[in-house]
Symmetry: C2
């Protein structure tokens, strides 16, 4: 049982990890691919106090380097589900499940909303993890939506299992060449099916598929953890970064505007200190 699991590798996640490490907490940092791609892609950052006029790459490196210098271990998987075990939590990432007393959600903001039908059919043909659920679709017809090149290996793995794969890459220059793969330059708009996934709708096209893998770098908060309070797409938190769920905290862009690096590191810091206080209380009770 871990003290904490931090989910997210952006500035809020780095800041939370640094503070938990300094306080000798036993935690897992599920950070996805690092350094943060979103930070790296910023052209110029002029308002991160103390680092005047850095490029996104420089800031991303500085944050990543800070964590590395402190020997903070990174788990580069993507968290796909969190289960409330009644006071503690189980987090699924890649092929593993970890238990923890607390969670800090640093999920950023996903530009894209969930696809119509995605939440309803999650676990009924909708999956976020090729390595976890791929074997269920051996010899079947599936769809795979990828938001980034980083997921091509996972998509290729799916091509090696399924009979036919409809690929929806939401970026340019998809390099997948599997013979049973068909690239469709459209965005899936709706996932349909009575009890399980039956077809994908994009524009006026309907594509039959028994499953769809949605490979994106973060899962929307409400899908990730049922019962988590949100408003206008942002996780609801108080000034101590507490969510409505006991032991679950959030920090960074996922808690609301302004979307700013300084705000994110500040909230990551506060969330970590709230976790430290919370663990101390648990111990005393």
């Amino acid at each position: 049982m871990k003290d904490c699991i931090i989910i997210g590798g952006g500035p809020a996640g780095v800041s939370a990890a640094i503070n938990l490490k300094l306080n000798n907490k036993d935690f897992i940092w599920i950070c996805g691919k690092s350094p943060s791609k979103k930070v790296s892609s910023a052209e110029h950052i002029k308002n991160y106090p103390g680092l005047p006029d850095v490029t996104g790459k420089q800031l991303a490196w500085a944050l990543d380097n800070h964590a590395s210098l402190m020997d903070i271990q990174k788990n580069e998987d993507i968290a796909t589900a969190i289960y409330d075990l009644g006071g503690t939590y189980a987090v699924t990432a890649g092929e593993n499940t970890y238990e923890s007393k607390t969670i800090i959600l640093c999920l950023g903001v996903t530009a894209s909303k969930p696809i119509d039908g995605e939440e309803r059919l999650l676990g009924k043909g909708v999956s976020y993890c090729a390595t976890c659920d791929g074997f269920l679709y051996k010899g079947k017809t599936i769809a795979v939506m990828l938001t980034d090149k980083a997921f091509e290996a996972e998509a290729e793995f799916l091509c090696s299992l399924a009979k036919k794969v409809y690929l929806f890459p939401i970026y340019k220059d998809c390099k997948i060449t599997a013979e049973n793969a068909e690239i469709i330059v459209k965005v899936p708009q709706k996932i349909e099916g009575e009890k399980r996934v039956e077809r994908i709708i994009c524009g006026n096209e309907s594509i039959d598929a028994e499953g769809i893998f949605i490979l994106r770098s973060s899962v929307s908060p409400s899908v990730l953890l049922k019962g988590l309070a949100a408003e206008d797409g942002h996780i609801t938190v108080d000034r101590q970064m507490r969510t409505n769920l006991k032991g679950v905290f959030a920090a960074g862009d996922c808690t609301g505007r302004p979307y700013q690096y300084a705000k994110s590191v500040g909230e990551g810091n506060v969330a970590a200190h709230s976790v430290i206080d919370y663990l101390a209380e648990l111990k005393n009770n």
Copy 2:
């Protein structure tokens, strides 16, 4: 009429100033002596993301340098009073008074509470500003409390005006040698007087004085601005760093724990963005 006045030169103030400057706002940054002495005096800071393992001096320099590189003007006076003019505000600092549509309070936390009697007798013999009120005590007997060497010039100025000055330096090695000055190595505990200051109580000693100058680097929020809501000594704010007073925002240690540099720069950033939103609304109404 300024767009904003930022009060405080610590990390929250720097962060707010950087963001207002980037947004071309017309503001005054009343920052006291810079770089921040409180930051400078920290031995090691390991949790300011992106600057691993810096000394307090290095962080203070980095923040100060960031503001300098952006040509942000500093006003090194100390703000001694804010008046609510009904929708706008007047701020007294040094010998000047400035008007502004908004205020960002980045006051830090004062280790010391107000002296007993200080708030009641403010403006009735209690003063925070030698250059503003000194002339009122020409040829009289006064007390001067100094929290830092930085105020010695101000205290010497008072010695040049008053007949007799009782000095209460709250630090070691006070260098003031004026013939009419008497150094008392005690802390003033009470300021007494019916309608005006009459005497200062320290321990079992009572010292007659017609006025007392309290020279400290920040004034407590409730004294600075009447009507400002506070709880446990911290200014009450919401997630947008709004206080209970329209157009008044706060950031950094003065809003509560944890007292952390990352939290302060985050809140300074958010407060500046809230000011920008508030000014846009004013313009549209």
